[in-house]
Symmetry: none
């Protein structure tokens, strides 16, 4: 349909593009995003600095593309979906905490977060890929629980997902105490409000046997 105006001039070299992304990824993971300069990326990619600047407006943009294109070794965003929300949530939270305790990942998370903050376009780009993955994982977990009859109907699962992501994200900056996980799961499962069932009966953080 649309002839799309045949591209003129020498086409962009796909080879150099991946060279840059590869070089950048390795540097980001070796010395950290903050310590990586555009010069260093270009040098390692054996590419002229101008070629980097031609295609990416900033280091943050390179970082984002690296992340989106899967050049960074990031923890996988899967979540168990056994149908038991307490167990699944606990497992997912612990795994997430683990990832954040890996300094390499923590630094990448921070850098990606900062990149998001610096440019809404990058934020959207990263959100489109990562948050979506995360959301799907968590959603799968919650759906399984729902199917098992373990969730109350009518819940806005997106909100729950947001809450979980936020909690883990916050752990990047603030200290995260894994001892709090059971209490957190309990709050998520039962809420904080007094209901007919719970009033007067101190809730235990352990599953009632």
């Amino acid at each position: 349909m649309s002839p799309a105006t045949a591209p003129r001039g020498r086409p962009r070299s796909a080879e150099r593009r991946v060279a840059v992304l590869r070089a950048a990824s390795s540097l980001f993971q070796e010395v950290g995003a903050a310590q990586t300069s555009i010069d260093a990326i270009a040098a390692r990619a054996r590419v002229a600095k101008q070629t980097v600047y031609r295609w990416w407006p900033s280091k943050a943009a390179v970082l984002a593309e690296c992340a989106v294109e899967g050049y960074l070794t990031l923890p996988s965003f899967h979540a168990p979906a056994t149908g038991d929300p307490r167990a699944d949530l606990t497992a997912w939270l612990e795994e997430s905490y683990d990832a954040l305790e890996t300094p390499r990942f923590l630094e990448l998370f921070r850098a990606l977060n900062e990149a998001s903050g610096s440019d809404p376009v990058i934020a959207a780009q990263l959100d489109r890929v990562f948050a979506r993955q995360l959301r799907q994982a968590i959603r799968g977990m919650l759906d399984a629980a729902f199917d098992a009859g373990a969730l109350r109907p009518g819940i806005d699962l997106d909100v729950v997902t947001q809450l979980l992501i936020a909690h883990v994200s916050a752990a990047v900056t603030q200290r995260a105490d894994r001892g709090d996980i059971p209490a957190l799961v309990a709050v998520l499962l039962h809420g904080i409000g007094a209901g007919p069932r719970s009033r007067g009966a101190p809730m235990d953080t352990e599953e009632p046997r």
Copy 2:
């Protein structure tokens, strides 16, 4: 007790200290923390650059001290405590979202967050002041609700506080949709788990009358 060996030499000038903090604060708020250089702070404070470096190890430290000493105009961290947790939570969340929609505050938040990330000492310093304030405010809100019998006993209020702070912090980076507030509050109040009371009865986000 110990006379602490009276300090020798010319004592630190309190005047220059506040000059620096004032200059830094105004620059942080005018052009943003990222765009503010130490040179600029020193120049505006009519102080030698070395004087800044003598007392603060980094720009982040200056920023933190500005925040802690109240030189930055930040939104107050109070929360209503009427005893009605649904109303209080909703009001507090809305107010928080408002603050984050102010670009000036948003940038400061980001900068403070980054400062926390860069240095654990600064993180602790900021936490001691802000998180404490926030925690107290939220705690007051929750305590009032508890006293009114609106909360289930046995809840780990610290965990709830953390969750709320995390949610709002995350909104700095990710987009926050205020339309989600009712659903969020509902999840917090009732939890997501199926209980005897709720099974089969779709939960409404409004309090059942």
Copy 3:
């Protein structure tokens, strides 16, 4: 007589050649030769940069061709030839000084000079055109004077021409004081050596009446 092997492929476009020369000339005169880049020339000529490089090895070559082909507005190199060497020389020197006081010309002169310095081929090319013109003009002036009996026979007029050109060229860099013209003319006419006629009689810079 050799048919010179008919050229294969698309022949050189005369149209683009003049486009380049025109664009270059206008840029040279508008912003100066030093401030003109090949990219800018190509862009203004609506020609690919490679097309410039295909036919001219350097910016200096383009400049030289502009000059030789008459695309640059340069002062005309005529000289009066009334037969009165004092008057003619004075007039020609004054006119030359005038041209050098026009910043536009001065810059072009400098650029042409530098181009000559950078490449002997260009130097020869420019010399063939300009110096020849100049030499002819001056030669005409001197010949007329000689015919009028105002010059001593046996003079190497080429040397005189060289001397005059050198004097004017030097004025490009060093400051030229037009007040010196009479003295200069006097030196040229009478020489500096003591002769039978002049010894003891202070030479005046004005023609003795």
Copy 4:
């Protein structure tokens, strides 16, 4: 008398100044001024690039200061002063031509000339030193000749000096043919104008015996 406002701040390091001048001089002479970058100067001087830029606005300024301060090996500007103008002029011109045939010097001359053209301040600076030296040398030569009675009185020696400098300078760009020297000297000594003495008698370029 004048307190001259005591200099404040860390004083300029004389050591680095000479380091820069030395490094620049050696580079200028090794690879030529055009091929020398500020980065290279700073690197060889083991000095930060900013330190160069702090004190010299351009490479031309560095070059000029190198020349003025005597860091460049330039031909000495002396001239014989035997009292015989023909011999002295001839000797001086030949020596000058020699210098210009040394590629190293020729390039330096060109660079200095270009530097003069780029900035009037530099031009004045160089003129103050070099032209003055040259003028003195030539003047000495002419004065000796005058004292020996070989020069006509009333000559503007400055003009002659200018003429000579111009002639040699022009030889930088245009080809200089040493075979012309005798004719040139003859013109200078006797002038080109017909005088009572010379009319009808073809002037020889050799001293009449």
